[in-house]
């Protein structure tokens, strides 16, 4: 007998949630790349909410909130997902085991801090990490965590702890799997809808802290922080921005390269030059974000004198460049 774990095709991805969705659908016979999963879910975003603090630092996000890739994708390409949450850990483990015994790979939400295969430096209390469980063997699970190169073995009690930890965005044992996988995807319709929806998120957000306005707001706020904060706190804040942009598995430049890849893939599939042009522009946006991160990092390490006006200018350039992408896509 071959275990489902051995036959499951593990693929490394840039981001956890889009990687899980891409692997799940591909497993069910509907081949979908990671950038496609990300792009079709319309999850590219920017949000800077200084009022909401996580671990003492303001919330900065380059994507829509956790769960939106899963929900957005199933809505856009029309397939049913079953999601379940549990009150008791034992109940959640029983259900997971039952699904695995049916040969069903299961997507789960878990805390990155309690997953034993994470290197210590990457263990933070982030409760919305997504991964796949693909089989079980002698009280251990085979997990296919898309941000790693290979599959891992995880003890039952460790996984249970990671699935049922408390705190912000507590996973409550969330597990999900497609009930009716899509037979085919109507790409012209799905791509158009997804791009237009994403354009609204980035350009027509109702609050000045979201979308393109949010990027400019971050630039202004960094300058304000220099006047208000101690140099040490400002350096820690810059480090926090860089980590949210690069460290948490974004495919580079806060998902901008991932989205550019989606635009390219969609443009080639639909023979649409407009999408290809938008992809080039989005790549340039990503390069600007990387430049911002490089300068911010050097300043926070004191290898370069602190120059918040420069960071502000770089962020404004990012916003300008991104605006040109969406202006182009308006004619889609």
């Amino acid at each position: 007998m071959t275990l489902p774990a051995q036959s499951f095709g593990h693929r490394q991805s840039a981001h956890c949630e889009s990687g899980v969705m891409s692997a799940l659908l591909t497993h069910h016979g509907c081949s979908l790349s990671e950038p496609m999963a990300f792009g079709l879910s319309a999850s590219l975003a920017f949000a800077y909410l200084p009022v909401i603090k996580l671990a003492g630092q303001p919330l900065i996000s380059y994507r829509m909130p956790p769960g939106s890739i899963r929900r957005g994708l199933s809505k856009r390409i029309g397939f049913r997902m079953k999601t379940e949450r549990f009150r008791h850990a034992a109940e959640g483990t029983r259900r997971l085991d039952a699904l695995l015994d049916q040969g069903q790979p299961v997507g789960i939400q878990a805390s990155a801090f309690w997953l034993p295969y994470f290197p210590p430096e990457m263990r933070f209390h982030f409760n919305a990490h997504n991964l796949l469980v693909v089989g079980r063997e002698n009280g251990n699970y085979w997990v296919s965590d898309p941000v790693f190169e290979t599959m891992h073995m995880c003890a039952q009690k460790d996984l249970e702890k990671a699935r049922f930890t408390g705190g912000a965005l507590a996973p409550q044992g969330l597990l999900y799997y497609p009930v009716v996988p899509p037979l085919s995807i109507d790409y012209p319709k799905a791509v158009r809808e997804a791009v237009i929806r994403n354009m609204r998120i980035m350009t027509a957000a109702p609050l000045p802290v979201l979308g393109l306005h949010g990027i400019r707001y971050l630039g202004r706020n960094i300058m304000a922080r220099e006047r208000r904060d101690t140099p040490h706190r400002l350096r820690l804040f810059l480090a926090h921005v860089i980590r949210m942009q690069e460290e948490i598995g974004t495919g580079g430049a806060g998902f901008r390269f991932l989205y550019a890849c989606f635009l390219q893939e969609a443009g080639e599939l639909l023979h649409n030059d407009l999408l290809l042009d938008a992809s080039d522009r989005m790549t340039q946006t990503g390069d600007l974000w990387r430049e911002f991160a490089l300068h911010a990092s050097k300043m926070s390490k004191e290898r370069e004198p602190m120059d918040t006006a420069l960071l502000n200018r770089l962020l404004r350039a990012c916003a300008e460049q991104e605006q040109s992408v969406w202006r182009r896509l308006k004619d889609l």
Binding site: A14, A55, P116, H240, G251, A253, S297
Partner: protein, 149 residues
């Protein structure tokens, strides 16, 4: 970003792992490229971790001197803050803050200690005492350490 510009800086924070990035090749086509790390990113991580360690060390010194309970030291060591610990154990923040006082912490019953022990992943016996040397990195279950290269 071009594929040959993808940084390969062997970041210590990656522990020999790689991360997947998307970059364009000479023809401008997107490719998946594995990266061993980027200095800008690992510098940021190290800065945040150093600050965490500094705070943990202060808490350890305070706890050794008997000014605060070991709870605060272990909270910081496990990379939590007041808000997240309070949420994880299901208490108001002021109650957790109260338990940072040695007098209040010493009076905790075993039920409450178990809740803290569960949330922090530290056995009750260890939770009640301050270690002799200032261990600043996260407390791992001995059974788990083999997993980390």
């Amino acid at each position: 970003m071009k594929t040959d510009h993808v940084p390969q800086d062997n970041s210590p924070t990656y522990y020999g792992h790689t991360r997947l990035l998307y970059a364009t090749d000479a023809e401008g086509r997107y490719r998946q490229v594995q990266s061993t790390g980027w200095e800008a990113e690992s510098d940021a991580t190290m800065l945040a971790l150093d600050d965490q360690r500094r705070q943990t060390r202060c808490a350890w010194e305070d706890a050794r001197a008997g000014n605060i309970s070991p709870l605060k030291y272990y909270m910081l060591r496990q990379r939590m803050d007041l808000a997240s610990l309070a949420q994880a154990v299901g208490l108001w923040q002021w109650r957790v803050r109260r338990h940072f006082r040695p007098a209040a912490f010493d009076r905790l019953d075993s039920g409450m200690l178990n809740r803290y022990s569960e949330a922090l992943g530290i056995p009750v016996a260890d939770l009640c005492r301050v270690p002799d040397s200032a261990a600043l990195d996260i407390w791992l279950d001995p059974a788990q350490e083999r997993c980390c290269p």
